[in-house]
Amino acid sequence: MKVVQSAEGTQAMFAREDPFAPAPPCREALRWKIASKVFVVGRRPAVGSATTGASTLGERETYAENLAEALSGARKKQRRQKAAAHPDNVVTYDQTTGALVRRQGGVVPPRESWIIPRRRVPPKVPEPTWHAPWKLQSVVSGHLGWVRCAAFDPKNEWFCTGSADRTVKIWDLAKCSAGAEGGLKLTLTGHINAIRGLAVSDRTTYMFSAGEDKKVMCWDLEMNKVVRHYHGHLSGVYALALHPTLDLLITGGRDSCARVWDIRTEKQVMILGGHTNTVGALASNATDPQVITGSHDCTVRLWDLAKGKTMCTLTNHKKAIRAMRVAPFEFSFVTGGADNLKKWQCLDGLFLRNLAGHRAVVNALALNDDGVLVSGADDGSLCCWDYRTGYCFQRFESTPQPGSLECEAGVYACEFDKSGSRLITCEADKTIKIWKEDPDATPDSHPIDMPAWTKQCRQQKRF
């Protein structure tokens, strides 16, 4: 690099590597050359052979020198220096604007028409927000099977859990989180197989449950009875969501489609087909895309509900999508599977961020208003992420309750309560665990590991 004189005589100029310089011999070609030389040097050919270019000792020596030079990269450097020093290739740039001013021995095209090879700029490292780590507060046992799903009352007084023991249980949040007696308020029976989806309406007194028995039911919580059945799924129902503004219920299941039901008339309004495998996760928005489905065929689809058509299909995931969560504070959503968690812009499905590091089959995602994202996996591992940056600030394992097998450590659902201060996880050891933020933790006691985070951000990503 060489500083040259100023073009206008007022500004200091400096030379950069010229984008238009003739390319040095590429590495492949060089290697080929070296390989041919190695053949000559290494294996002694027959004397007088026509195919060998180097039969004399002197030639061999020069080749050996060449080879050593090539291997050390010295020749490449030399050549580059020579090219830069050539008057035709000296280019001057404006220091303040960076605009090309003059190129000796050539016509300078206007800036718009340049084709400049893109240089890899190290990505900016976003500063993660500090969150207190989470710790176990109490364990609630009462279910007789895997606990598969949970939902909170809009008033935050109780929560309901659905289990593989075919029951929905309603628990008092305060009593359960304090570990007091009598936390179980009610047990609802009616399903004949594991319950996989629950939702509590915040506009009516209804609760909705869906199960592997193809049933979708509407419970009236004033009478504690089933008041409506939504009949039509051809196989088990794995996900359920309520439309935030309309009286619509959306369910998705093993028949690889999502069905939209009118809550009042029990009629199936629409069938959102297109997935080629089980629909494992669902979310619903008030504006388009009103329905987002994640499927075991590794795609996410955003749906236009008025037309009943796919707006966009996202194919970035490599493994089945088992969990999905829409952010309450910004218009984005996060999906999770066995490979990575991925963050998307809700409006058009623009890919925003890849949250790598949870190396397990992620079954559940929960997100609160503070921007804490929790992912729970099949092997009982939980990760807490800063949602904005994707920094994983805590990793922990949930311990299975005494008497259960090692393989029964698994998180099937996690849910933040309405205030976001309590996290409940539904687990394979038949318990519900309630977690809270560590009140003693400070940014000093649990600092953000900036070096590791920087390294993670800087490294080349393949996903």
Binding site: T265, A306, H317, E330, S332, F463
Partner: protein
Amino acid sequence: MATARLLTLPAPTREYVWKEKAGPVQQKLQQEDVALPPPSYGERVGWKPKKLSDYGDGGAYPEVHIAQHPLGMGKKETTAVVPLEVDAQTGQVKYDAIVKQGANRDRKVYSSLDDIREKEGDSLALPSAEKEAETAARTQAALGAIIEGKINSAKPTHVPEACARRAATFVRYTPNPTAPGYTEAAKQRIVKMVEQQVDPMEPPKHKHSKIPRGPPSPPVPVLHSPPRKVTVADQQSWKIPPCVSNWKNARGYTIPLDKRLAADGRGLQEQTVNNNFATLAEALYIAERSARDEVRARAQIRQQNALQEKEAQEARLRELAAEARRERSAVAERAANTTTRRYEDDDSAEEAHQGRVEREEARIQRKRERERQMRLDNAKGDLKRSRLERERDRDVSEKIALGLLKGTAKLEGEAQFDKRLFNQSAGLDSGLGADDDYNVYSKPLLDREDANAIYRPRLTQDSKYGDPDDQYNKLKTTSKFAPPDQAFAGTEGAKARQRDGPVQFERNREPPAADEQDPFGLDQFLSDVKNKRP
């Protein structure tokens, strides 16, 4: 500048097919060779226009009865080939064109390398309330129509649109005056168009055939890296060993029992029992034995004590008995004269004998009664009811004679009538029931309500069932079965005496001793006081 760019750019390596926006007809016309002109008018029988050039500048042949598309007019362009398009900005091939064709025009498709790079979002703001309301209204309208259609079609009175009779329409028809058959009289006609009635039960005239499903929408570009090569560690961690049955071998045949036992290594293991088990058992045995010894010794001592006490008591009793016998013999000797004198009379002897016989008879009768009662109580079925219960239903005339029952004589007012006669809007029949019902009386003759309540615990002020301490004391102090020979309180000697004859009284002849008459010297004191008074 363009020349400069051309200079700098390398020569294109690929050729692109550009979609032809206009002029397909001209192109085709150019391609086709205009060899044979169409036959002239009147000689076109059996001739068909096949090429575009057959139509010349345009215009169809009305005498040729096939579908004709002069200059390609009205012909649908159908092609399965999507032309390759290139992005104007980047110069890259638009791979999403295949996804976005046809009805999927407004689909968002991500296909570039930039779409898999991490980035900050550009429109992350939450949607406004107006937007939400607008979307809700739009969706409601769209879905409402669907729901309404579904509800209507489910109604039993629903008639499909195709079957519904439409109202008749009228058409004013003006015939061509030059046409043959034209009459002046009918310059204009009004034609009534009525739908032909269709038999709803008519079988379909054509065979229904299932239309195969249309092709799915084209696949979206896949934006993830190819799957990683499975490492050995991964493979090993996913290896699930096959289950080995104890009962069936790999071919599915049942393993014989001896082989199974030999295979499970049951005999190979030497079973060792921890020494501590033996120690514990021994310690327990010793402890138990010593405890038993102690208990036995204690029991023996207690027994000896009891024996000694008993002997002492018996000795004392024997002494007392001897004394009593001595006293009694003295009394008997004294009274012997009077009793012998009394029984000398024959009449009285006769009376005594008669009385004894009567008493004996009564005793025998009572015994019989008791036995009968016992037998009845032991009997099964209805007889097993208690006597009280059995006698409840029996003749009550005795009780009435005794005045125990008052009957209905004293009832006044409504009570003397059958209650079923009152408040019957449906007449007497409804109240009295059927003829064969055995409900002659509205209530039982004898009101035994109070008898049932006798043994019920009464409510007291303290608690529902009375004071437990009171009841306990009562039970403890009062004996239900007083022994016949119990002594009266305050009599001499706590123990009752055995009697061998009727109770006899004797006058106390001896005057009481001075100290017995005034044991505390009260009379003496009083007289002294009296005498001393002046």
